[in-house]
Amino acid sequence: MTAPQPVLDVRGLIMDFGGLRALDNINIQVNSGEIVALIGPNGAGKTTFFNCITGLYEPTMGDMIIHTPGKAPVRLNRLKPNVVTENGLARTFQNIRLFQKMTVLENVMVARHCRTKSGIAGAIFRGRKTRREEQEMVEHSYRLLEKVGLDSYVNELAQELPYGAQRRLEIARALATEPILLLLDEPAAGMNPKETHELDQLITRIKEEEGVSILLIEHDMKLVMSISDRIYVLDYGQMIAQGTPREVSENRNVIKAYLGEAFDA
């Protein structure tokens, strides 16, 4: 066994909003090839954590480092969201944030933006290189849509897709940025059990086929327990537990956080 290769390494992360400490000294590591879950009651700071590492918030203190195999580690602090994405982080949102007025294919192609080069001049003169790049872009996007089972919808507007399909489109779009770590914020929210089960399989398949590691926020405990390699538990901005699904589900602190103090008595 080789030592696990960290992909994301967050140490001592503190996020203050005025006098409120939303995240207090958080340490989270995601290793290559892992599916890691971040759970906790509402308002625990899970989405705040995502916003910090993707560059939407600027953390008060701490280090956030991404390790791309074969490249020097990059410190994510103070990088703009689009630069964070270029460095291999992609995310989805709790509430669906597709470009509703664009087609399914266009949604995915926008995300290829950061991996292509041609600028305005290229668009106007349309040289061979631009056209080849565009061809590559379309093919790559089709491949991703096929993977999430949306290849029959390519030219529909995103807003016309059924709910579950919109969720899958978000995942395909995130994958189009070629991430090494995919952040999923409540991917199963609002899904029925059948859709959740399909999502479970999709996430595992993506991890294997695309070679991405996954960090997900989720409330559906069945999903979390079945697919996660490790789990971190947040409560009121504090890390109260971490470990394998089994360890976490037996942890007294976790049970207390979810069910309240009275359970203790």
Binding site: A90, F99, C114, I120
Partner: protein, 299 residues
């Protein structure tokens, strides 16, 4: 009937120019929800640039369409540079400020640019050479002048190219993405600053085209033309539905025709009364404009 057609084509010409300027308003609004009140000034600067370039080049013995093309292209580049710089100086630092701040900054920019041209040039009207000569095949046509034909055709071509650009190119897709959800676009690796700059560059270049063409058609310009044209084009953009590109064109044409027919059948004194009366009328019955979609804001 001839009189009607004359007014019709006059309105079409006027409306085309409004449309060219309105496109810049509507694109900028679509991307950063800012009414760029200094946009009319960019149009005026385009006209002045073309005047300077055309005067210089005509000394070298150039004339006709090549002169129009060359001075037009230089005016486009020059105006685009102004638009780009304006965004960086006056709007970018205020992007996260409350919405009123960039609006006031825009008005300041407008006053600044007007007075800058006033000082650098003159407060008087200066004559602008007729760069568009009468085409031989238009001689028998009485209802429309050659310059009007050029204006209408140029606007049609420019609008078509813009639509194709936004629909099919990589930057066009990025623009639509930024217009719909800036944060999400950023998280997908789109460089939002670059997209905003591109929007200002394209809008400014279109305004310059309008400035050059109408100046050549009317034959005189001064530092103040941008203000009036800007207000009218803004009206056109709102009329058509601000944020919508076909809306800007339709709004421009509707406004152009309204003014033209009001002038022709009523009195030129009532031109603005009809134009703004139409605006009030449309806003009462379709608050989002002709093509605008009424969106209920989520609370």
């Amino acid at each position: 009937m001839d009189y009607f057609l004359e007014l019709f084509f006059g309105g079409l010409t006027r409306g085309s120019i409004y449309a060219l300027i309105a496109l810049g308003y509507t694109m900028v609004y679509g991307i950063i929800q800012l009414i760029n009140f200094a946009h009319g000034e960019i149009y005026m600067i385009g006209a002045f640039t073309a005047l300077v370039v055309a005067s210089a080049l005509s000394l070298l013995g150039m004339n006709g369409l090549s002169l129009l093309m060359l001075s037009g292209v230089i005016a486009m580049i020059y105006s685009a540079a102004y638009g780009f710089t304006m965004e960086k100086i006056a709007y970018k630092p205020l992007r996260d400020a409350q919405r009123l701040s960039p609006l006031i900054s825009a008005i300041g920019m407008s006053i600044f640019l007007q007075n800058y041209v006033l000082l650098a040039q003159t407060s008087d009207f200066v004559s602008f050479p007729a760069l568009i000569e009468e085409f031989p095949f238009m001689e028998s046509v009485t209802i429309m002048r050659s310059s009007e034909l050029v204006i209408v055709v140029t606007t049609a071509v420019a609008t078509t190219l813009l639509t194709l650009f936004i629909k099919f190119t990589r930057m066009g897709k990025a623009m639509r993405a930024v217009a719909q959800d800036k944060t999400m676009a950023m998280l997908l690796g789109v460089n939002v600053n670059r997209v905003i700059s591109a929007t200002f560059i394209i809008g400014s270049a279109l305004a310059a085209v309008g400035g050059v063409l109408i100046s050549s058609h009317i034959g005189q310009i001064n530092f103040y033309i941008g203000f009036i044209a800007g207000i009218k084009a803004f009206t056109a953009a709102v009329l058509g539905g601000i944020g919508s590109i076909p809306g800007a064109v339709i709004g421009g044409l509707v406004l152009g025709w309204t003014e033209s027919f009001a002038t022709g059948y009523v009195s030129s004194d009532y031109e603005d009364v009809f134009a703004f009366g139409l605006l009030v009328f449309i806003l009462i019955f379709r608050p989002a404009g002709i093509l605008g979609k009424t969106t209920s804001e989520k609370v």
